[in-house]
């Protein structure tokens, strides 16, 4: 697709154009700007404020609130907290039984126990791994015009397993950037290098692909838009033209190769027909993945970012403004990718840990302490809570840069457990909630909305890992493709797997994904939008996957007990984690009555609603169909697909 190609080209141009000239007409960045900029100073220990609060996080947050004469919000109701933390940590609904057990648990550490239970769940890796896959621009196709399929799901599985095992961030980063260079690299370490193989790539666009690899390192690890998001009137980028190409050299000296993986499950099923018959041989023959391999070659600066104009030769190296981050003795040979990882991870690198913990905060509160989570550059204003950001960064290091202790410390705070209700007096001074005087209601992500709907409907498959799958999707989605492809729904439980296993054609993704703001996977995505438009309502009401969920949930309601009021209560509990208020119960019972009235003499409609054959006989058709329609309403409540 030309706009993708052009988009990349544009990044290239800017990367280079700006880096070359610094700032046309206004001179380059002054050294002082770099030295003074807060984000380029090493994190330091700030004294934890002596305000109220049971954790340091709370004391940092409350000190700032107090400075504006504001109080924090009260704790959210227990059931809301349980649903919130369950959705945040594993992306699924808490079961009714788990909620009731929590409410009945009188032990003082019941919250910590719940959190530990969730952190130990294998679904934790699915939830947080998906966040990482956004950054890694993971997809099952190449992008560009042909958008040809690629087999790289083993990388997705590697990420999920890394999060589940709480792999230290050092190993996590090093294997993804340089797993192939590690001594006696095993298959898993090679699979990890898929991080950089996720780049959109076709033969002939190698240059753009490598620039994206540099950009991705910049935004994911350093929070810097390396030479990209600048303009002529701002003093900006700390990376010079030549330095850009030194970073470029790390990836220029690699190639992306297919690594067969004997012993893995087979990757492709016949439903996926790719290209035309002539090219049938292109189809992968067995399980494989893409890996990065060293491919030594000379790197030149490209004048004006034009690969047809090679300038001086350069070798790998690091930008001067973070040169101190390099560890170990200066070697005479240029650094390799392992050293790139070390440089990123060096404790003298002031950015990496801040950027990383900020993004974790963002996932749990909707906004980072630094709002521009992908831009910690010279233009970036200080974080809302500078002391807290540094505190989290240093604690992260202190715990071996493991994510589970970091996440645990945040969700154990009172700040995390606050109510998300809007408070007028707070909104009047802090409408965007930068002071974190409350939690936020966050509409769930594309994959999670579908997952929990299927879960409530009792049809979600919790099968993990393996080749990407093909759930139902509306016809015609693949029509726009330059190269034809078929979408044959998977059979059996693969049709009902969690959304992160859905096959992702970059140019024609499953329509529910862009509809609910999932990234295309063209470049690294550090933050998803949360749009709110009528076409989403249409999908939630009418899309076949959601309707299947409603059928399942309706059946479950109908079977859950003999009395309508009890059915309403247990179904609300199953979906929202709480029982309905008397008014809500009344609304749903009235709905039940009025829908039953429309169905009473329309057995054909009942069969259609239930998905039964025309001839199917059943005494309870009307009743069962009615409960499908009631269940469908509950699955369409804003509260259902919102984490409160």
């Amino acid at each position: 697709m030309s706009n993708i190609l052009v988009g990349i080209r544009w990044i290239v141009w800017l990367a280079v154009a700006i880096a070359v000239t610094g700032v046309p007409g206004t001179g380059s960045i002054e050294a002082g700007d770099l030295e003074l900029h807060w984000a380029f100073q090493p994190p330091r220990r700030h004294a934890v404020p002596r305000s109220d609060g049971s954790t340091p996080i709370d004391r940092f947050v409350r000190a700032r609130l107090a400075s504006r004469q504001l109080a924090p919000s009260t704790a959210a109701p227990n059931a809301v907290q349980v649903r919130r933390v369950t959705l945040d940590l594993i992306g699924l609904l808490p079961t009714s039984a788990r909620i009731e057990a929590y409410l009945a648990d009188s032990r003082p550490d019941r919250w910590g126990r719940l959190v530990d239970e969730l952190l130990a769940s294998p679904h934790f890796g699915e939830r947080w791994g998906r966040h990482w896959l956004d950054l890694a621009r993971f997809a099952d196709s190449s992008g560009y015009e042909s958008d040809s399929p690629r087999q790289i799901w083993p990388y997705r599985d590697w990420v999920i397993e890394a999060w589940n095992s709480d792999m230290g961030f050092e190993r996590f980063v090093t294997e993804q950037l340089a797993g192939d260079l590690l001594p006696a690299a095993d298959v898993s370490q090679q699979i990890a290098t898929g991080f950089q193989c996720n780049v959109i790539y076709d033969p002939g666009v190698r240059y753009e692909a490598i620039v994206d690899q540099v950009q991705t390192v910049g935004s994911v690890f350093l929070g810097l838009t390396l030479g990209c998001a600048q303009c002529h009137t701002h003093k900006t980028d700390p990376v010079s033209h030549e330095e850009f190409y030194r970073l470029y050299a790390f990836f220029n000296e690699t190639s992306i190769q297919r690594l067969p993986l004997p012993g893995f499950d087979t990757g492709y099923r016949d439903g996926l027909v790719i290209r035309d018959e002539k090219k049938k041989s292109d189809r992968p023959t067995g399980p494989a993945t893409l890996v990065l391999k060293s491919a030594p070659q000379a790197t030149h600066v490209f004048e004006q970012g034009d690969p047809s104009q090679p300038g001086q030769k350069v070798v790998t190296g690091f930008p001067a403004f973070l040169a101190t981050a390099r560890v170990g003795k200066e070697k005479s040979s240029p650094p390799d990718r392992i050293e790139l990882a070390r440089w990123i991870l060096s404790e003298n690198n002031p950015l990496t840990d801040r950027v990383t913990v900020n993004r974790v905060w963002q996932r749990l509160f909707g906004t980072g302490l630094v709002e521009t989570e992908n831009d910690f550059g010279v233009q970036t204003p200080p974080p809302s809570h500078p002391g807290l950001l540094d505190h989290l960064a240093l604690e992260f290091r202190h715990h071996g840069r493991r994510f589970k202790p970091l996440i645990r410390s945040i969700v154990l705070s009172e700040t995390y457990r606050q109510s998300s209700d809007v408070r007028p007096e707070l909104a009047a001074v802090d409408a965007s909630n930068r002071l974190v005087g409350r939690q936020r209601r966050l509409r769930l992500e594309a994959e999670v909305i579908r997952d929990i709907s299927l879960q409530a409907g009792g049809v979600l498959s919790e099968k993990m890992l393996g080749p990407s799958v093909f759930p139902d999707q509306s016809p015609g989605v693949l029509d726009a493709r330059a190269t034809a492809a078929k979408w044959t729904p998977s059979e059996g439980q693969d049709r009902w797997r969690r959304g992160l296993y859905t096959w992702h054609w970059r140019l024609t993704p499953h329509p529910l994904k862009p509809l609910f703001d999932a990234p295309e996977g063209v470049t690294s995505c550090t933050r998803r939008d949360r749009s709110n438009v009528p076409v989403q309502s249409l999908a939630l009401l009418n899309d076949v996957s959601f309707y299947t969920a409603a059928r399942g949930l309706g059946r479950w309601s109908w079977l859950s007990g003999p009395k309508s009021a009890d059915r309403v209560d247990t179904t609300m509990l199953r979906c929202l984690g709480r029982r309905p208020s008397p008014f809500e119960r009344r609304v749903l019972l009235e709905l039940n009555e009025s829908q039953r009235a429309t169905l009473q003499h329309d057995l054909a409609a009942c069969r259609a609603i239930l998905g039964l054959d025309a001839g199917a006989a059943d005494d309870d058709l009307v009743e069962r169909a009615t409960w499908v329609l009631v269940a469908r309403v509950i699955l369409n409540l804003d509260e259902f697909f919102t984490r409160e």
């Binding site: 802090d430 409408a431 309502s537 999908a539 009418n542 008014f583 829908q595």
Partner: protein, 471 residues
């Protein structure tokens, strides 16, 4: 706050949009709620409106005005000469690195057209055919050579992310005239800074654009699932929104208000959108006018026709994005190609609106976020794929309908086409002028956020009344 919408909307806005406490949100009826975002009602305006709707044909990347609408014989004469130093100091390039870039003439033949005698190049024969129906403004200017930020400035009045877009300001100010479709719809390829160009920023979410899909069905899931009649759907949505209102009252979260409006709109769209979005009822003659061979294939022309159908139904603001016009290299091949794709559809839209009596009420805007330089961007070597860099000091847009005094050419650039001879129109002036056409005063269409009033034009903007016929 100055929202010129009805009293209901104003009082609703005051307490609900600002999150001020005291008044129970649940006391509002559903019809009031939906009225806030979509009710079909004549809107009281700040000034007498000249247009009811806007179609903005946004040419992403920056078309080369010097090869299309702003002929410069002097540049042709001095082809290959260096740009004089005095001028060099006054212009900003995005990419050109040379100390003394060289002028590059246009290889395309320009001719005067129509009664107005406006110059249009041979690359735009269809647009040339409608010059008496459009007004060409040649001295737009912007502040940023970076596409992403120039796009944002054009579409949100601000060079960074986070502000409401032009279309969402209009939707906020005027609501929709259509009960069946949202007030603000977007079609076509996405601009570089993506949804920030048509998002609602800090305005309530129901004012963000709904994006139509380019290929296949423009909107999926318009049909009810098996067994669900319109009546059953209505009962369902009533229950959903009764319960959503309970949650809204408890949480105070405006997103729920937008969600309620979304469900109401979704129901109405189901009734009308399938017919509205199907081109099946268009005659062969109309399709031919637009140059559409296969209405099922995505194309710019198809989006233009769709835009006409949408404003016909009362959609307030339609933005068709198209590009890429970013011809730094290989402009000789890429520019004619882009023109072939866009020229006929753009011109056909104006003609089609006119013959249906819709043009007077619809302001059509054609243009991108910036323009291109009279100097060449290397490589200039023989056979090289030369292009033009970004120009922000002067670029061309055209306007039609909506009270526009057609047949004018407004503004003039210097002999070398790189600077305006007079002040020209800043992007903020353009925005003030577009709002003015709709009857909105850009200084009074404000929204209070975090303690201050925001507006589309920040603290700038001047209505360019020369665009309009004297009323």
């Amino acid at each position: 706050m100055h929202n010129p919408a009805s009293a209901i909307t104003s009082s609703l806005s005051r307490r609900a949009f600002f999150g001020a406490g005291g008044v129970s949100l649940a006391s509002m009826s559903l019809s009031q709620l939906s009225a806030a975002s979509s009710g079909p009602r004549p809107q009281p305006s700040h000034v007498a409106p000249r247009a009811r709707s806007v179609i903005f044909l946004f040419q992403v990347g920056g078309p080369s005005q010097l090869d299309l609408f702003d002929p410069k014989p002097e540049v042709n004469r001095r082809d290959g000469e260096e740009l004089p130093e005095s001028l060099l100091k006054q212009v900003s390039f995005a990419q050109i690195q040379e100390k003394r870039p060289r002028l590059m003439g246009s290889p395309y033949r320009f001719r005067r057209h129509g009664h107005s005698g406006a110059w249009v190049s041979e690359l735009m024969p269809h647009t040339a055919g409608i010059v008496d129906r459009i007004t060409i403004a040649r001295t737009l200017r912007t502040d940023d050579t970076n596409h992403m930020f120039a796009e944002l400035l054009m579409n949100t009045g601000w060079r960074r992310f986070g502000r409401p877009s032009l279309g969402s300001w209009v939707a906020y100010g005027l609501g929709s005239q259509s009960q069946e479709m949202p007030a603000f719809l977007v079609l076509g390829t996405k601009p570089r800074s993506k949804s920030a160009n048509y998002g609602s920023g800090f305005l309530p979410s129901q004012f963000q654009a709904t994006v139509l899909r380019d290929a296949g069905e423009p909107i999926l899931n318009l049909s009810n699932p098996p067994g669900v009649t319109s009546r059953r759907q209505r009962l369902s949505i009533d229950a959903i929104n009764r319960l959503n209102r309970v949650r809204l009252e408890a949480s105070g979260d405006d997103e729920i208000r937008a969600r309620i409006a979304s469900y109401e709109m979704a129901f109405r769209m189901q009734a009308r959108a399938p017919g509205l979005l199907s081109l099946g009822s268009e005659t062969r003659e109309t399709l031919k006018l637009y140059g559409i061979e296969d209405p099922s294939r995505p194309s710019f022309a198809r989006n233009c026709l769709m835009a006409r159908r949408l404003v016909e139904q009362g959609v307030r603001f339609v933005q068709v994005f198209h590009g890429d016009w970013d011809h730094h290299t290989d402009i000789g091949k890429r520019l004619p190609g882009e023109c072939r794709v866009t020229d006929q559809g753009s011109a056909a839209l104006v003609l089609d609106l006119a013959r249906r009596g819709l043009l007077d009420d619809t302001l059509v805007i054609w243009g991108g976020e910036l323009g291109r330089t009279p100097v060449a961007q290397k490589p200039m070597a023989a056979g090289g794929r030369v292009g033009r860099d970004h120009q922000i000091e002067a670029f061309t847009m055209w306007f039609a309908g909506g009270g526009v005094r057609a047949g004018q050419v407004i503004g003039e650039t210097n002999d070398l086409g790189c600077l305006p001879t007079e002040a020209g129109w800043h992007v903020h002036d353009l925005q003030a002028t577009i709002l003015h056409a709709l009857g909105l005063d850009h200084e009074r269409l404000t929204y209070r956020y975090e303690g201050r009033e925001f507006r589309l034009t920040d603290i700038h903007g001047e209505v360019k009344s020369e665009l309009f016929a004297r009323s």
